[in-house]
Symmetry: C2
Subunit: 443 residues, 2 copies
Amino acid sequence: MPPSALLTDLYELNMAASYLRRGMDQPATFSLFVRRLPPGRGFLVAAGLEPCLAFLEDFRFEEDELEWLGRELRFEASDLDAFREVRFEGEVWAVPEGRVVLANEPILEITAPIAVAQLVETYLLNVITFQTTIASKAARCRIAAPDKDLVDFSFRRTQGTDAAMAVARATAIVGFAATSNVEAARRYGLAAAGTMAHSYIESFPTEKDAFRAFAEDHPTRTTFLVDTYDTPNGVRTAVEIILDLGLTERLGVRLDSGDLDALSREARHLLDAAGLRGVRVFASGGLDELDLDRLVRAGAPIDAFGVGTRVGVSADAPFLDSVYKLVEYGGRPVLKLSSAKATAPGRKQVFRGPDGDVLALRDEQTPAGHEPLLVPVMREGRRTGPRRTLETARALFEADLAALPEDSRRLAEPTPPEARPSAALQDLDRRAREDALRRAGVL
Amino acid sequence: MPPSALLTDLYELNMAASYLRRGMDQPATFSLFVRRLPPGRGFLVAAGLEPCLAFLEDFRFEEDELEWLGRELRFEASDLDAFREVRFEGEVWAVPEGRVVLANEPILEITAPIAVAQLVETYLLNVITFQTTIASKAARCRIAAPDKDLVDFSFRRTQGTDAAMAVARATAIVGFAATSNVEAARRYGLAAAGTMAHSYIESFPTEKDAFRAFAEDHPTRTTFLVDTYDTPNGVRTAVEIILDLGLTERLGVRLDSGDLDALSREARHLLDAAGLRGVRVFASGGLDELDLDRLVRAGAPIDAFGVGTRVGVSADAPFLDSVYKLVEYGGRPVLKLSSAKATAPGRKQVFRGPDGDVLALRDEQTPAGHEPLLVPVMREGRRTGPRRTLETARALFEADLAALPEDSRRLAEPTPPEARPSAALQDLDRRAREDALRRAGVL
């Protein structure tokens, strides 16, 4: 079932009803972008576009929804008739998922009759903001531990179960190796990963009984959770079971508490001393990118990290200062004047070049040596090409990550690059500002 | 469609397969609680129970899910046969939604054969953690502005659209008056609220044209957004339109930027001077409970606040340190020893009395003058009573809020009360600890 058209704020319906009554069907362009990066972010990773396109393709009000709008929210019959006909038949330009974006660079621009462009605002803003938030946070884990396997362990404490799906998806875009989330693995074709919980150990008479039982039941995929009672003892017991059962395939020990640097060295030592060099050391337990960075720099012999809550909610920056602004209506560039919230007018493009990004107008010529970031993804309400896969997004991310300047990649106090406005954009901004002041009655 | 049984972590399936193979079907009790409150929280408000009960009632694997588990995750046919039969037929005790809870107090305890109790962990932990996070944050807004109307404006930047539904629900529990979220209003029977956006103003030749159009189209519910160009000018224009059209019903002006204290006074003054005392002043724009507190203490004449992103993601504390711990298995109390993550054994109850809360064992007698917080909500997989409404939850919240000690209610650096362990719990803890050390081979 496609998402409901009622996934919107009431004011969108109020405005849409008014536009439809008045026949205000000239094309409007809205630009979705992040005004300022949160502290601790040197760049963003665009994500969330695919679900937005799916939403737009199927956008329509169902009869039971219209009936409810009339009965409970008192929309008039003529409004409901107008809502009934609404479809998204507009145009979308967007930065493909996985690409690095900066403040003020449109992630998505939509052009459609203003009523429908307004009705879809809440959904688009919500989905792009959230998935971009998570991809941008998770990208920092990749920077911290570029050569380790990262596994999304966040499901139990994301902001809802739907959020967990998006987190699995966004972390896959930035190169996580697997997720613990079974439904997300199924939905998005991701690798699923899982070990055992402390409760499993505790439900057997002894830790050794638990380890033996699990290894007998899953002989080709056992990661022993070794910290329930005493970690080094747990590792010795795991070694004993591995040797006793003659296990060889996909083995690991998981450390979930304590001094992970010291314990991982001890675990590695015990495993190696028993000739078990192939058994991997897995670490988890409230980790974020700064913990990963510390452990990797210290040279802790950890092969894979389970990354959970702090990344799954982007704990240090759980939202972005994202907006969806009208930038053109009926061919006229539009901007907002209010202090501290001013926005630049017109349909835009971002040109990425060797000296950084240029924020330009969409119909400007691409400067030599530059690449346009926004590409057309929908025309007349239909996708312009096939659905992009997560693999495509991941490849774009890897390339953009490699090209990021060092001070933007830095984990501690990164310096985000800023896009320079083009001369044409500056000129349009000046003219539109005068026009807006005239409308406000100030000029 | 009920939520999928695949909304779980892979390790739950691994463990469940092992338990089912081994016929380990003795009852296990898991306790879901928050270990420590985040800084800035003096109490929590329990929320999320109703969706969990709905999930448990319908818990089952569908054929296509089983087929996928066999094909992609290589579960054996016998495991799939065992999964096929799994239902939740256990018992649940819980703190009703809306009640105040503290660290270490179980919000929910579940007793069922260990395989199924484990399979439902991820969903229960996710939903209770998130909704409790939001209810606890939003409760602080109620404390800051007890006599104002609060409206949930968070939809556009919550962590996914499903999260927005939960936010609308959780904020309703703590007494928010309305939500901008249309689908949530429909789903939960909440009041919907909405005004107009800056884009609406900008799509007309002048602000006055926009105000007139909206008021003509919505004469019984117009809140004028007055800050697109210049706020005092905007208020004057709204006054002109109100008088011109002779509007009288449900009128307001909304301030969305700038110095809300000064601007609300100026707006109130302009409205009153025009004889429009009934027109309400509405404020919004990145507000959290500390902003509300500042504005209310300053005496700003604001009637209603739109509260958005910072509350909708609980920006200062976007998750809780929640856990789901095995506390009893096959009649044997269980506890975890690992350093810094120790948990107390046994099925529990919380007795709330005049001197605070007592964390006790479930079968202890209620002390005189005390009230047990946990009540049975499911037996043999069925609810013990009708669904509790949001109104019930809200009434429980209002009563608990009124009874909260002042240093726990305080917005800045609150001191959370702590539950005292009962003598019987302390005694069981001592005995279970010795037992655990014996199992670990330490004693």
